[in-house]
């Protein structure tokens, strides 16, 4: 009974249902081949890594009551920068240089995050507009970096972050999970999570409680930028090229959706990283399922709409009460009014 009431129960059920569907449609759900995991499930997990990373940063931003639309553009820039530099390497397979280049790309993404954070926290621009600026201009910058063309690289260490395996698990997924664990530690083992939720709950009250709201706000945008940059690297490593035009296109919407599915409210305050993880994997699983069951492309969106509607209703306590709970004579007016 208490499990059913849990916020994440229904998203989890839908996720499991989607996985079960894939179990039947797929040749292999999960097997070991050449010493690593192979099959739909690893594919889904690997494929969800960029979205997971972006959604993770988005969760923190949303917890402070903000939003970050620029993640897609940051992904594009980070991938473009990395590929441009790797392409010019004498030996593209030199692990050290590739790692250095990845650090440079992530550094650039952190700076972009800082730019967003500054606009929001210091200049005081509404987050949606502040990050819209970078969303629009950032992709332009990425296109400029790549001259509008796709830049190919032949670097196996670089490709490994997306397609390699470590201890037979896809590295991309490991990176995403490492980021998740790190974020959880960072927010829950320190006081950061509490301060974030406080700033998201009420900036005024937080300020009067002595919280440096501005610093925290800047920080979450920086983190979001960095994670988006990492996601951009994985995205581009996956196709061994920088595609500045489509990298991260519209990913902000999916990321926000993942966060909301995970039970973090857009107005800020309480956030759930576990929820975001489920949300992101769910979205990836949904995308795979659509292809796997052969939904014709003209009906794809309708199919997704049905799932999202189901999800959004399952998120609603009121809906669950009305449908599954005891039937009441009249609708409950549930105003959350403090005494």
């Amino acid at each position: 009974m208490t499990i059913i009431k849990h916020r994440l129960f229904w998203p989890s059920v839908i996720l499991v249902a989607l996985l079960v569907v894939n179990m039947f449609t797929a040749n292999q759900f999960i097997t070991v081949r050449d010493g690593h995991l192979f099959g739909v499930l690893p594919d889904i997990l690997r494929g969800s890594a960029p979205l997971l990373l972006v959604a993770l940063g988005m969760t923190l931003v949303i917890a402070t009551g903000g939003i970050d639309l620029s993640v897609g553009a940051v992904m594009a820039i980070s991938g473009a920068v990395a590929c441009l530099l790797i392409k010019d390497l004498g030996n593209q397979n030199a692990v050290g240089s590739v790692l250095l280049i990845m650090a440079v790309a992530i550094g650039a993404s952190l700076l972009l995050g800082l730019w967003n954070g500054t606009l929001v926290a210091v200049v005081g621009i509404q987050p949606i507009i502040a990050t819209l600026i970078l969303m629009v201009a950032g992709r332009g910058v990425a296109q400029l970096v790549t001259d509008g063309q796709i830049i190919n690289v032949q670097s196996s260490p670089y490709a490994a972050i997306a397609t390699g395996h470590f201890l037979s698990v896809p590295i991309a997924f490991l990176i995403a999970i490492a980021a998740v664990v790190l974020t959880v530690l960072l927010t829950r083992r320190t006081a950061l999570g509490l301060l974030l939720e406080s700033v998201g709950g009420s900036p005024t009250a937080s300020r009067l409680a002595g919280i440096r709201a501005r610093r925290i706000t800047i920080m979450v945008y920086v983190v979001s930028g960095g994670l988006a940059g990492l996601a951009g690297l994985i995205y581009s490593a996956n196709i061994k090229s920088a595609d500045s035009i489509s990298a991260g296109n519209l990913i902000e919407l999916d990321a926000i959706l993942a966060v909301v599915i995970g039970g973090t409210a857009l107005i800020g305050g309480r956030f759930s990283i576990a929820g975001t993880v489920i949300g992101a994997i769910l979205i990836q699983a949904l995308q795979v399922t659509v292809v796997a069951v052969g939904v014709p492309s003209k009906a794809t969106l309708l199919f997704k709409a049905v799932i999202v509607v189901a999800l959004c209703l399952s998120q609603s306590t009121t809906f669950r009460q009305k449908v599954f709970g005891r039937f009441k004579s009249r609708p409950a007016v549930t105003a959350e009014v403090p005494a």
């Binding site: 006081a191 950061l192 005024t204 440096r212 007016v333 403090p338 005494a339």
Partner: protein, 508 residues
């Protein structure tokens, strides 16, 4: 008995929240033309009863009849239509709208469907004038202090010609003259046959205005009494279930002599500190172990003064010395670093974080001052929180409950706890006893006295003059956003003397 039949009758009301039975088999009735006080400690269930009545909450059991007919309101809209006009406990208005709109929204004067702004403003101004309030009704509500907002809420409720008027702690931040105005209006309505339900933690007010009272304790009905038949002491006993004895030792002023402060260097000294439009430049010194009270009428600038000392607003003139060193407070953190704490009068928007738990709310300020990298270990948190939940009798004593589900008084205690655990050297408390029940209020006063004996300086702001007089070593009197006089709180200083100071200032 020749009692008229009740306009409102509630029987066997039961309301359960997850983990709490807020009301259990409560009966309540309201006669036409009476003022009926609903009494009980913080968290007794008064506000819940009112919300159940007006349809904000569903009931889990029992019946409500209004004017002889059984009703089942689905929301405030319905109850309002049925003639029940309500002022809920915390000011529930829309601060982004103008004063006039707040008063008239939902029933604006219209012509051909078009709102008549001029007429609306005129009527709003007239209405407020009857409450002795001359403010610009076309300014948005958020430019006014909480007390003004409360008056506006009252004006709104009173203006609706209703059968039943419900006032949940309307006087919590009003000063004496506003209360008097309100009572005049209540009496007039009562004479018109309106039934009034009144909640207050001020026993004097209850005895002054009410005809009968109903006492709740822990969600249960204790009884219904004629006010005249029930002496104060007995009422308190019924409310808290035991005798109240804490206040006595405070009464004796002679004990409140500043032992250590006389020669101590001042903690804080303001010279010509001020902020344009908020408060004129003032001088103020606060010593260790000293309780400084701020007295003044609504909008006299007490809150503004306090905010300057905490860095919540930035001063634009004068200078501030802390421990003899010149400082500029640019932010609350700067003040906190120097041992200053400030609990805002506006607990709902500037104090509590509703979604967070009691524990998180309590440790917030301490945590903020330590920085995010040094979390307070969970065990230590639990220890501190437990201690203060006990000390301040926060109920329910569950540290993991969301604060927004606590009753108003208990939220106030949580805020107080938040600042006490930072062990400040100067504690600024703006209306700390607002909405707090008699027992807890006495506890808080005792606490303030103890803290000051222990060397903490306290800047105490309260609309209740008695309280200020009882606790303060010296009293700063404000008027029209100006500090007009400083009074040593010696024998002979009493409420009248202070009112005189304010009034004489007014004639200048």
């Amino acid at each position: 008995m020749g009692e008229p039949s009740p306009v409102l009758e509630m029987t066997g009301i039961r309301k359960v929240f997850p983990g709490v039975v807020a009301l259990d088999g409560v009966d309540f009735r309201l006669l036409p033309g009476e003022i009926h006080a609903l009494m009980g400690e913080n968290g007794a269930g008064k506000s819940t009863l009112i919300k159940v009545l007006t349809g904000v909450y569903d009931i889990d059991g029992g019946q409500i009849t209004l004017g002889g007919e059984q009703v089942d309101f689905t929301g405030p809209l319905q109850s309002q239509k049925a003639g029940v006009s309500t002022v809920y406990q915390e000011v529930n208005l829309c601060t982004n709208l103008t004063v006039a709109e707040n008063i008239f929204i939902g029933r604006e004067p219209r012509k051909f469907g078009r709102i008549q702004w001029g007429l609306m403003r005129k009527r709003a101004a007239e209405l407020l004038a009857r409450l002795d309030l001359n403010i610009d009704v076309s300014a948005t509500l958020d430019t006014y202090s909480l007390a003004i907002q409360q008056m506006v809420a009252i004006a709104r409720a009173v203006d609706v010609s209703a059968r039943v008027l419900i006032l949940d702690e309307p006087t919590s931040s009003l000063d004496a003259s506003e209360v008097a105005q309100l009572f005049t209006i209540m009496r007039r309505l009562k004479d018109d046959g309106v039934a009034i339900l009144f909640v207050s933690h001020f026993l004097d007010q209850v005895y002054e205005i009410s005809d009968r009272l109903t006492v709740l304790r822990n969600g249960q009905l204790i009884g219904e009494y004629k006010t005249a038949d029930l002496p104060q002491v007995q009422l308190v006993e019924k409310m808290i279930g035991k005798e109240l004895a804490v206040l006595e030792d405070l009464e004796d002023k002679s004990q409140r002599i500043r032992a250590k402060t006389a020669d101590a260097a001042p903690i804080l000294a303001a010279t010509g500190l001020g902020r344009t439009g908020a408060i004129s430049p003032f001088d103020l010194t606060i010593h260790q172990g000293e309780v400084v009270g701020l007295a003044g009428l609504l909008g006299s600038g007490r809150t503004e003064l306090a905010r300057l000392l905490f860095g919540a607003d930035r001063a634009d003139s004068g200078s501030l010395q802390i421990d003899g060193k010149d400082v500029t407070l640019r932010s609350p953190q700067a003040a906190m670093k120097r041992g200053i704490a400030f609990s805002s009068e506006n607990r709902r928007t500037e104090g509590i974080l509703g979604e967070l738990s009691v524990r998180e709310n309590i440790i917030l300020a301490l945590q903020a001052s330590r920085g995010w990298t040094r979390p307070i270990p969970r065990r230590k948190q639990d220890e501190i929180v437990d201690k203060y939940i006990k000390a301040l009798q926060i109920r329910p004593a569950d540290p993991e409950r969301e604060v927004r589900n606590l009753s108003g008084g208990n939220q106030q205690k949580v805020l107080l706890a938040r600042w006490l655990i930072t062990e400040p050297r100067l504690l600024i408390i703006d209306e700390p006893t607002r909405g707090i029940d008699v027992g807890a209020k006495a506890e808080i006063q005792k606490l303030v006295a103890e803290l000051s004996d222990g060397g903490m300086a306290v800047l105490f702001v309260s609309a209740e003059l008695e309280e200020v007089l009882r606790l303060s070593h010296k009293i700063e009197v404000l008027r029209d956003r100006r500090l007009v006089e400083e009074l040593e709180n010696t024998e002979g200083v009493d409420a009248d003397r202070i009112m005189q100071t304010i009034a004489s200032g007014a004639t200048q």
